[in-house]
C-alpha cells in the first residue's frame, strides 16, 4: 500500500462522498483549482455545478449552504482560512445549528465546514493563525479535529453523512502527516476517542496535531513514565466515557490544546475530569495564552503555542 497523506485522505473522503451520494456538493473559494489540496481534481470529475467555485462571499455562500441543506442537498464548504469562520458565525451558529430545535425537529441542516490549514502556519500572523475549534464546541456545533490521515478520512466521511452541521478542523501542522495505510478506509463514528498509546501513569489528552507531539514525548519518557496518549478526535460531542476509562487506569491528567486558555476545550476537559472522574493529582493544561493573537516573527509565534518542553514538564509535575 502507498503512503497516504492527510490532505489526500480528505480528498479521498470528498471523492467517495461525491461518488456515492448525488446530493453531496462542495462550495468554496478556488476549489476548482484545488488550491488548498482537498478538492484537487474534484471539479473535473464531478462538474462545476457540484463542485462550485464561489465568489468571495463567505456569508452568502454559507447561508446558501444552509438553504441548500434544507432543500435536500448535503453541502460541504471549504474555508481557505480558519478566521473566515468568524465571518460566518451567524450562518453556522444562529441559523444552521439552531434550526432543528427552533423548528421542533421539522428539519435539520446537514452541512459540513472543512477548514484545511487551521492553526499556525509559519509567517501567516495574526489574522490567519487561529484555531477556533473551542468556540464551536462551546456553541454546540459538532466539532472534529482529526490528527491522522485515517482519522481525517473517517471523520470527514462521517461528518458528510451526519444530519447536523459539523465543522472539521484539519490542523495545518497535521497536513504533512503521512501514514502507510494497509487497511480499508471507513467512516469513524462522531464522538469516539482513540487511544494512540496505552499507559498507566498519566493520561495526556492531545488535540489535533498535538497528538504527534504527545506521542513523541511519551516515547522519550517511556523509561521513566508510562504515558497514555488520548486523542478525543471529536471535541463536541466529547467521548467522556473513554476519558473516564483512561483515568481509571492512570488517575492523572494533562491536556494539551492549541487554543486560547480561557473557556478553551482544555478547561472543559479539566473541569469535567475534576467533577466526575478519578484524579490522584491536580490536572494540568497547556494552551495558548488567554486571548492570544499569534505574532508574526516565527520565534514569537511558536512561543505562544503549546510546546513539547511544556508538555514534558507538565507530565513530570502531575506524576510527582
Amino acid at each position: 500500500m502507498s503512503m497516504l497523506s492527510y490532505t489526500k485522505a480528505l480528498n479521498r473522503a470528498l471523492t467517495d462522498a461525491l461518488a456515492a451520494d448525488p446530493s453531496v456538493c462542495v462550495f468554496g473559494e478556488d476549489i476548482g483549482a484545488g488550491l488548498a489540496g482537498p478538492t484537487l481534481g474534484l471539479q473535473r470529475r464531478f462538474g462545476a455545478d457540484r463542485v462550485v467555485d464561489t465568489p468571495l462571499s463567505e456569508q452568502a455562500f454559507t447561508g446558501m449552504a444552509v438553504g441548500a441543506a434544507l432543500a435536500g442537498r448535503r453541502p460541504v464548504i471549504e474555508f481557505q482560512i480558519p478566521s473566515l469562520l468568524f465571518l460566518v458565525f451567524e450562518q453556522l451558529v444562529n441559523q444552521a445549528h439552531k434550526f432543528s430545535l427552533m423548528t421542533g425537529g421539522q428539519g435539520s441542516v446537514p452541512l459540513v465546514c472543512l477548514v484545511p490549514g487551521s492553526g499556525s502556519r509559519d509567517g501567516w500572523a495574526g489574522q490567519h493563525s487561529d484555531h477556533p475549534y473551542s468556540l464551536f464546541a462551546h456553541a454546540g456545533v459538532k466539532t472534529l479535529v482529526p490528527a491522522t490521515p485515517t482519522d481525517a478520512y473517517g471523520l470527514l466521511a462521517a461528518a458528510i453523512r451526519d444530519p447536523d452541521p459539523v465543522v472539521v478542523f484539519a490542523p495545518a501542522a497535521a497536513l504533512g502527516v503521512r501514514e502507510d495505510v494497509t487497511w480499508e478506509l471507513a467512516p469513524i463514528p462522531i464522538g469516539s476517542a482513540r487511544v494512540h498509546r496505552a499507559g498507566t501513569d498519566v493520561t495526556v489528552v492531545a488535540v489535533g496535531h498535538l497528538v504527534h507531539d504527545a506521542l513523541a514525548v511519551a516515547e522519550e519518557l517511556a523509561e521513566e513514565i508510562s504515558v497514555e496518549v488520548f486523542d478525543p478526535r471529536t471535541l463536541h460531542p466529547f467521548d467522556w466515557t473513554a476519558l473516564a476509562a483512561s483515568l481509571e487506569r492512570t488517575g492523572r491528567l494533562v491536556v494539551v490544546d492549541d487554543s486560547n486558555r480561557s473557556c478553551g476545550i482544555g478547561a472543559e476537559v479539566v473541569a469535567t475530569a475534576a467533577e466526575e472522574m478519578r484524579l490522584l493529582a491536580p490536572p494540568r493544561r497547556i494552551t495558548r495564552p488567554d486571548g492570544a493573537v499569534l505574532p508574526f516573527a516565527p520565534a514569537l509565534d511558536r512561543s505562544l503555542q503549546p510546546s513539547r518542553d511544556q508538555l514534558r514538564h507538565a507530565i513530570r509535575t502531575v506524576v510527582k
Partner: protein, 330 residues
Amino acid sequence: MTDHRTPDLSTLLGRYRMLRLIRGFEELALTLVKSGAIVGGTHPYIGQEAVAVGVCAALRPQDRITSTHRGHGHVLAKGAEPRRLLAELTGRVGGLNQGRGGSMHAADLSLGILGANGIVGAGAPIAVGAAWAARQAAEDRVVVTFFGDGALNQGVLLESLNLAAMWRLPVLFVCEDNGYATTLPAEVAVAGSALGRAAAFGIPAAEVDGMDTEAVLAAAGAAVDRARAGQGPGFLRCRTYRYQGHHTMERRMKVNYRSAEEVDAWRARDPLPRAAALLDRAERADCDRELAELLAEAEQFALASEHPDPAGACDHLYASGLRPRAGAVA
C-alpha cells in the same frame, strides 16, 4: 371545516379572505399579548398584508419562502394553519414548531416555509441556497425572500443578490419597505435606493404600491414567471406601512418617532377596503363571519393545547439524536 392548509389565493375572494385572516389574526395576537398568553410580544404585520398576500398569490404550493421577524403574514399567506401558528405564538405543543420557535421562528417545512428569522437579512442567502438546490434537483420551484428596508444595509443581502444574479437563480427578493427599521427612518439610513441596489447587480427591479394587493400580485407574478422560466432573480420594492409599533413592547417604552398624521395618511390607504370594494357585499359578509369563527376556534385550540414538558427542553437540539450533557452535575 375547510382545509386551511391550501389557501386559494387565485381569486379576488380568496385574497380578500387572506387579508382579513392576517389582520384578524394579528388583532387577536395583540389581545393575547396584552393578556399575557403570548409571552415576549410580537412584531405586528397590520398594514402590510397586501404584500404577503399579493406575493404568495403568485406562488405555487411547491414554491418556498424565507421570512422575517415580522413573519405571521408571510407564514399564513403561504398556507400555515392559523390555529397552529397561534399555538406556536403561545408556546404550546400544538404549535407549528411544538412551541420551540415562537413568533420569530415560525416554520412549516411541509409548506415550503423555511422559517421566519430573528436576524435581519439572514433569510436571503438561505433562499438563494434553496433555489440553487431546486435547480440542481431539476425541481420547478421559485423561492421568495421577504426582508425589510433595514436589511438593505446588511452585507449578506448584497452578497446574496450577487450570487443569485451570477447564477441566474429563481429567487424573488421582496423588499417590504415600511419606511422604518425600528425607529430609524429609511430616508436617513439607505443611501442610493433599494432599486439601485438590485440594478447594480443587473437584477430587474420594480417598484409597487404595497398597499394594493392586486398591484403586488401583478408585479410579483411577472417576476415569478421570469424566474420560473430560467431568466434569473427579480427584485420588488413594496412601499408599505405598519400601523402598530415595531414591536408590542414599543408602546410601553413610550417612544415616539412617527406623527399621528403620518400614520393616519397610511391608514387611509388601507389594503382591506380596497380589496373589499372588488367583491359584492354578500360575499364579504359570509367571509367575515366565517373568519370570526375560524379565529375563535384557533384561539380555543391554542389555549387548550398543552404546555411543553420542561424535561424535553433539549429535544430536537440535534437531528442525530445526540443528547446534550446537563448543565448541572448531581
